[in-house]
């Protein structure tokens, strides 16, 4: 195979192979199962081109922008040695990235509709808006807290599996008491809190912290922040469904 020296071109080819499987699946199903011609081929080709370009830019920017920011800040906080500032930063980062997350806004509105139809709250616009906002706030709070606990864990070297098991026990307990209609949406909300920009930043923060503390292994201790951030919202959403 030809060695490609240019980093950008290399990424471009990589992105193409990354989205190849999707194209194959769509095409095969369209041709063999549904057996209808695809409409709007020009749009499809243009869109595919945009996806490839977008993925290439994203990966390029990841390496020179997001990863370095997360790691430099982690190192700076470690050198400063102020635990309270680090925790304030972690909380702010978790809260800020979650409150504006479009997927969460969509799911909160959906949850408000379910709660309205199910008679958990008054079924009018005002009550639903309040409910959705409260839900978003509690999820953002959950993610902020998750990052605080996660960062504390990296610094203190607590074993990840104990905390995760505790979290799961909490989820199971909440599932037994939460309103049935809220369960599905609570579990889904855990998956949507971590967006494309948050993930690289938070990963770099964790790995950066773990590598600047001597007795920590970046692989064992550095990962796990995102795991917390997708675990706590489930508990908080079910708790919210119980209380409100």
């Amino acid at each position: 195979m030809i060695r490609i020296r240019n980093q950008f071109l290399q990424n471009l080819v990589g992105s193409f192979f990354n989205i190849m499987p999707i194209l194959v699946v769509i095409l095969v199903f369209q041709v063999l199962v549904i057996r209808q011609p695809l409409e709007n081929t020009v749009n499809l080709l243009g869109g595919t081109f945009l996806i490839i370009i977008g993925l290439t830019f994203f990966i390029q920017g990841l390496e020179i922008g997001l990863f370095p920011i997360g790691e430099t800040m982690a190192r700076a906080f470690a050198r400063k040695g102020s635990l309270s500032w680090l925790m304030a930063f972690s909380f702010a980062l978790g809260f800020a990235t979650t409150i504006a997350e479009p997927a969460l806004i969509a799911i909160a509105d959906e949850a408000a509709r379910i709660a309205g139809n199910g008679g958990l709250i008054d079924n009018n616009k005002g009550a639903r808006t309040d409910y959705a906002l409260g839900l978003r706030l509690s999820v953002a709070l959950a993610v902020g807290l998750a990052l605080v606990v996660g960062v504390l864990r990296i610094i203190r070297g607590w074993p990840l599996q104990h905390l995760i098991m505790g979290g799961y026990a909490g989820i199971l307990l909440m599932t037994a008491f939460a309103p049935r209609a809220m369960i599905g949406i609570a579990y889904d909300s855990g998956g949507v809190t971590t967006s494309t920009i948050t993930v690289p930043l938070v990963t770099a923060l964790g790995v950066g912290l773990a590598s600047s503390i001597k007795s920590r292994n970046p692989l064992i201790d550095g990962f796990g922040l995102i795991a917390f951030a997708s675990l706590t919202p489930i508990i908080f959403v079910m708790a919210y469904g119980l209380i409100v």
């Binding site: 499987p21 977008g54 920017g61 922008g65 400063k80 990962f223 997708s230």
Partner: protein, 257 residues
């Protein structure tokens, strides 16, 4: 021209999403750390790349995958299509064969293209010095999403309660976690959280809601959700299983030599 205008509005939208994050970082950098970033110019360019990249990526998805994927999910789950596969026979959970296959394939392929997962996999490869291959990790995660969607679709079609599956999944996870090599645990749990973002969530939600509204006797509000939960639970199981298998094989090889 319209596409150009649209792209601009998506870039603007992405920037609004980034604002709180940028404000947090800049605020703490200026007020608390009080040291400039080492390469401000290069980092800035990187951030612009990220925003542009996400904007183009989303625009491309909106033009291609989302409409086509949603249309296909609806067509495959529609009663007419199911009926046409086996005319005259009663519809049971086996009648939805193509939906299962489509769900698994689309879950697998969209996970491979998921930008957040690429980011975590790249970092893991870098940190482990190449012992964990980025591509291998992504394959393990994608297989997990595929299995998760298979089971999730089965649940919607049969209408069995979500919590039974989730509780069973968590029990498997707890046993696995107790026996897994410590090195992989954090990574495995992180990959569960990142599988479901930009690409997978809209498609999978459409598939779930489409199925729940076409399968007789299902309520989209109750049965339509939960696919995402499956898609983030099963990758943890497959990544842990992959690591456990690799360790087991290594141990057996050591013993035989």
């Amino acid at each position: 021209m319209i596409a150009l205008f649209d792209s601009a509005s998506i870039i603007l939208g992405t920037m609004t999403d980034v604002m709180p994050i940028a404000a947090t970082i800049v605020g703490f950098q200026v007020l608390v750390i009080r040291k400039p970033l080492p390469h401000p110019g290069k980092t800035g360019v990187g951030l612009i790349y990220v925003i542009l990249g996400i904007a183009f990526f989303l625009k491309g998805l909106e033009m291609t995958l989302f409409p086509v994927g949603e249309l296909m999910a609806r067509q495959l789950a529609s009663p007419e299509f199911i009926e046409s596969q086996a005319p005259g026979e009663p519809i049971t959970w086996q009648s939805y064969g193509w939906v299962y296959l489509f769900g698994a394939c689309i879950g697998f392929s969209t996970t491979l293209a998921e930008p957040s997962l690429i980011a975590v996999a790249l970092k893991a490869e870098e940190i482990s010095g190449g012992a964990i291959r980025a591509f291998g990790l992504r394959i393990a995660v994608a297989v997990g999403v595929a299995i998760g969607l298979l089971i999730g679709i089965f649940r919607i079609v049969t209408g069995s309660p979500l919590y039974l599956y989730i509780v069973a999944g968590y029990c498997i996870l707890m046993v696995q976690t107790a026996f897994a090599p410590k090195l992989i645990i954090g990574l495995a749990y992180d990959s569960g959280g990142v599988t479901t973002s930009t690409v997978t969530v809209p498609l999978v939600t459409a598939l779930g809601l489409g199925l729940a509204s076409t399968v007789p006797g299902r309520d989209p509000l109750i049965d339509g959700f939960g696919l995402i939960a499956f898609a983030s639970l099963f990758p943890i199981i497959t990544v842990l299983a992959y690591a456990e298998l690799a360790e087991l094989l290594a141990r057996m090889r050591k013993r035989s030599s």
